[in-house]
Amino acid sequence: MAVKLRNPRVPEGINVSRHSAVRDLFLLTGGLLAFVAILGIALFWFGGVIMRQLPVRWENALADAVVVRAVDAPETAEARTITAELQALADRLSPSMVADEETRIQVHYLDSDIINAFATLGGHVFIARGLIERMPNENALAMVMAHEIGHVVERHPASATGGGLLVTALWSLIFGGSPDGLSALVTGPDALLVTGFSRAAEREADLRALDALARTYGHVGGADHIFTVFRDELAAMPLPPQILSTHPLSADRIAAVAIGAAQAGWPTTGPITPLSPQLAAVAGR
């Protein structure tokens, strides 16, 4: 029997199934974001828990190996004097805030125009000249100092470092070879998580600072000055949505001072302590 060879037209749609790639995109992206959010929250929390359980002396040792090496010693006599004044202020506030013997507060002066102060691992607190220049009195500066000490006491720098490291390490492991756009999607929700955590940490530190001010000065007058400075400085700038911000809104923080004082029964007015002559000189007074 002769074989007839044919080359028929084969119907389409057998090897290529009908589906909506756009539907796949939204469905899978939604699933991925949900997965990232849930796992990210768990990892960030767990990493923070682990770091907070570590002895403070281990954190101090890590910080000494990293932070201290990165910080220059004060170069001028003026800088050394200012650093000493800031350290003295911290030493006056610390007894009412620090319970752990291993926790130490070491203040560093940043000769910079930026209006900022921050705390890092190992109890290192940095305060910039730009911020000191805008402080009208010691009470206002003490609020800033106590706020940063509050971060150290609550171990926020350690928690954020541990959580962030764990999330970053695992994401690199899972998504290391992914298309570029995926990293933006993954880091986005994680960043929202970090900023959310940061805002909660800021509120916690604010409350700690108010308590310290009340114990040290007998009232919390001047505590909201730093927030009015931030509010005024940022007034002309377009602000991102609150969800993307690492700090609560300045207006909310000002209101929180009044609310916190009312709830705890702290007086909001009282004798104002002037800045020391050395710090007043920085502030141009």
């Binding site: 002769a2 074989v3 007839k4 060879l5 044919r6 080359n7 037209r9 090897n15 290529v16 199934s17 589906h19 790639a21 756009v22 796949d24 995109l25 899978l28 992206t29 699933g31 991925l32 070879g177 992914s178 298309p179 570029d180 756009g181 995926l182 990293s183 933006a184 999607l185 880091t187 986005g188 960043a191 700038m237 602000l239 991102p240 993307l244 911000s245 690492t246 700090h247």
Partner: protein
């Protein structure tokens, strides 16, 4: 704070633009290629391609008849096809969760049909009327990290039978 916000928006913005461009141009290119494939498949419908290694006796009703010693020649069709950014991203998501990777189906289908068409074209050029023992070889051009664009090379090869028409 504002630096982070700007960076985040920029990254997402670039990603969305790439997705939209990939989707738009990818679909347009794919549809154009398929239209071209269908047209040429009609042009070369007379060149029969089979996987059988045995050349059967052909009926004279086909307009062909086998001589006692037909001429044969190796013919091949080779093509490299790439996937757009949109499909690559969706495929990567699918590979995370498992299941069929629909977005690559048309890539492979186009690649194979194009390779067969080029095989037929080469056979036609040398006077062949049929290709026997056709086989596919498929390989990925871009391997490894997945950060590069995915391209697939499809090779179709077989034995063309050159039968004089009688």
């Amino acid at each position: 704070m504002s630096i982070f916000y700007s960076s985040f928006v920029w990254q997402i913005g670039v990603f969305v633009v790439l997705i939209v461009i990939g989707f738009g141009f990818g679909r347009w290119a794919e549809r154009r290629h398929y239209a071209d494939i269908r047209r040429r498949e009609e042009d070369f419908r007379s060149i029969v391609v089979v996987t059988s290694k045995i050349v059967p006796a052909m009926s004279s009703a086909d307009g062909l008849h086998v001589t006692t010693s037909p001429q044969t020649a190796l013919v091949k069709g080779n093509v490299v096809v790439s996937v757009d950014y949109f499909k690559r991203f969706v495929a990567f998501l699918r590979m995370l969760f498992g299941g069929r990777v629909h977005t690559f189906e048309s890539l492979i289908d186009r690649g194979r049909r194009e390779a067969v068409l080029r095989l037929q074209q080469e056979a036609w050029r040398i006077g062949g009327t049929a290709v026997f023992g056709m086989r596919f070889e498929t390989s990925s051009i871009t391997k490894g990290s997945g950060r590069g664009m995915i391209s697939v090379e499809v090779l179709a090869y077989g034995t063309a039978v050159i039968v004089p028409r009688g």
